[in-house]
C-alpha cells in the first residue's frame, strides 16, 4: 500500500514542540494527518523516522522524515512558499533576528521555565527572578519585532516568532496554577503579556490548545509536584 498521505505529523498532545509544527501547518493551511505518540511506548515508525533522538515531533512529507521543530518550521516555510504567510521575513538581517530570538525562546527562556518547575523554595524564587530577567531583556531588546498593534494580530499573519512565543509561554496560566507563582505579569512585562494573550484569543490557537485542567494535571504528573491549592 502506498503512502497516500502527503503530510503526517507524529506528535504528543502535551509537547509544545509538537504544537509548533501543527501550528505552522495550520497557519499555512496545509492539511496533515496527525499521529499521537505514546512516549512510553514509541511506535516503530517514530523510531525509524528519528533514530538519532527518538523524539517528537517528526514531520513526514511524501514519506521522508524531517525532525527537530525549528528545522521543521523552516522546511515548511521553504517547501510551501506559495502558501501565505511566510513564516520568516525575506530580508536576511530580519531573518537573522527572527532566528536569534527564536533560539533565545527555545533555549534560554525554556531553560528557565524548566528550572522553575523542577525547583522549590529559595531556588525556585531565584529561578523565577531569572525567568523575569530574561523576559525583561526580550522587551528591551526585541524592539520592533514585538507587535505593538495587538488588535492587528490574526491567525493568517502569524510567523515563526509568534509560534515560538505562544508555544513557550501559552501555558503560563497552567504553570502559575501548579507552582503558585506569577510567571507573566501584565505590569512587569506588558508587551509580552499582551502578545501572548492576544494570540491565545485567536480561534486557531484555541483549536490546538489542550484543556487547561489536562495541562495542569500533566505538569503535576511529569514533575511529581503536589497541587499548591
Amino acid at each position: 500500500m502506498g503512502d497516500e498521505v502527503e503530510v503526517r505529523v507524529h506528535g504528543m498532545w502535551a509537547s509544545t514542540y509538537s504544537k509548533r509544527v501543527e501550528l505552522a501547518l495550520k497557519i499555512k493551511g496545509i492539511p496533515y494527518e496527525y499521529v499521537e505518540e505514546d512516549l512510553m511506548n514509541k511506535s516503530q515508525a517514530l523510531l525509524e523516522y528519528n533514530p538519532i533522538h527518538k523524539k517528537v515531533p517528526v514531520l513526514v512529507h511524501n514519506g521522508k522524515p524531517i525532525v527537530e521543530s525549528l528545522v521543521i518550521l523552516e522546511y515548511i516555510d521553504e517547501v510551501w512558499p506559495d502558501h501565505a504567510p511566510r513564516l520568516l521575513p525575506r530580508d536576511p538581517v530580519d531573518r537573522a533576528r527572527v532566528r536569534f530570538w527564536s533560539g533565545f525562546l527555545q533555549n534560554q527562556l525554556l531553560e528557565s521555565v524548566l528550572k522553575l518547575v523542577m525547583s522549590s523554595g529559595e531556588e525556585q524564587e531565584k529561578a523565577l527572578d531569572e525567568l523575569h530577567e530574561k523576559m525583561t531583556i526580550m522587551e528591551q531588546e526585541m524592539g520592533d519585532i514585538i507587535p505593538k498593534d495587538i488588535s492587528s494580530i490574526q491567525s493568517k499573519s502569524l510567523g515563526l516568532l509568534d509560534i515560538q512565543v505562544i508555544c513557550t509561554l501559552g501555558a503560563y496560566k497552567a504553570h502559575e496554577q501548579v507552582l503558585g507563582v506569577k510567571i507573566l505579569d501584565p505590569h512587569k512585562h506588558s508587551l509580552i503579556y499582551a502578545w501572548v494573550n492576544a494570540m491565545m484569543d485567536l480561534p486557531m490557537i484555541k483549536e490546538i490548545t489542550p484543556p487547561h485542567d489536562n495541562v495542569v494535571n500533566f505538569i503535576q504528573m511529569i514533575f511529581k509536584i503536589n497541587p499548591s491549592a
Partner: protein
C-alpha cells in the same frame, strides 16, 4: 551603498572559526577584531547586549549573532558563489539537523572531556567517539558532508578539529584510533585555504592550558 563588514571574535573559539571560514569561502572583505573576553569592548556589549558573546558579525552597522545564524546570513547575502546550504529544502533540513547535532552532541561531549575526570571523563570520551562515529556515517562515500562540495555542515564541524588535540591530551586518547574517517575528512578540509587559516591545534592547547591556570582548574 556601503558594504562595511566587521567580525568580533576570539581566535580559539570554534564558533568564531565557523564564521571566519564562511567569510573566506565567499571572499568577503572584512575587518577582524579579536576581543579580550576578560575585558569586553563597548562595541561587543552594544552589538550583542543579550549574550555579550562572540562571534558577532557587524554588516553595515547591523549586528548578526550566533555562529550558525551568521553562517546562514553570509550564505544568503553573498549568494552568487559557493553556496554553503543546498537549495533543495529536504537536503537543507538535513544539513541544519546535522549542524544542530554537532552542537548538541559532538561539541557538548568534547567539552565534557576536559571538564571532568575519572568515570565521568571515560563516559565523556565514549559519548564523544560515539557521536563522531554517527556523524561520519553521514559522509558515506562523499568527500564532504555537503556531498561533492564543502558545505554548511563541513563549516559547522571542522573548527572542532582544532580542539581535538586538546581533548586528546585531556582524555589521554587518540581520535584517529577510534574514528579514522573523521581525521581523513578533516585532512581533506585542511587543503582549503579557508580551513588552513584556522589556528594550529598546538596553539589552541597552549591557550587551553593558560585558561585552566587562570580558572584554577587542575
Amino acid at each position: 551603498m556601503g558594504n562595511k563588514a566587521m567580525l568580533l571574535d576570539f581566535w580559539p573559539s570554534p564558533f568564531g572559526m565557523r564564521t571566519r571560514i564562511a567569510l573566506a569561502e565567499k571572499g568577503v572583505k572584512y575587518e577582524y577584531k579579536d576581543e579580550d573576553l576578560s575585558n569586553k569592548s563597548e562595541l561587543l556589549l552594544a552589538m550583542n547586549p543579550v549574550h555579550k558573546k562572540i562571534p558577532v558579525f557587524v554588516h553595515n552597522n547591523k549586528p548578526v549573532c550566533e555562529s550558525l545564524i551568521i553562517v546562514e546570513y553570509i550564505d544568503e547575502v553573498w549568494s552568487k558563489d559557493k553556496p554553503l546550504l543546498p537549495s533543495d529544502p529536504y537536503l537543507k533540513a538535513q544539513a541544519r539537523f546535522w549542524a544542530d547535532f554537532a552542537d548538541k552532541k559532538v561539541y557538548e561531549s568534547g567539552a565534557r572531556i576536559w571538564k571532568t575526570k575519572g568515570e565521568e571523563q571515560e563516559k565523556a570520551k565514549k559519548d564523544f567517539i560515539e557521536n563522531l562515529t554517527i556523524l561520519v556515517q553521514q559522509l558515506g562515500d562523499n568527500p564532504y558532508f555537503g556531498g561533492d562540495t564543502f558545505g554548511y555542515v563541513d563549516v559547522a564541524i571542522i573548527p572542532f578539529y582544532t580542539w581535538f588535540y586538546t581533548f586528546e591530551m585531556a582524555g589521554n586518547f587518540k581520535v584517529e584510533e577510534s574514528c579514522p574517517k573523521v581525521i581523513e575528512w578533516a585532512k581533506r578540509c585542511l587543503q582549503r585555504e579557508s580551513v588552513k587559516a584556522l589556528p594550529d591545534p598546538i596553539k589552541v592547547y597552549d591557550f587551553f592550558l593558560e585558561l585552566k591556570k587562570m580558572l584554577g582548574i587542575e
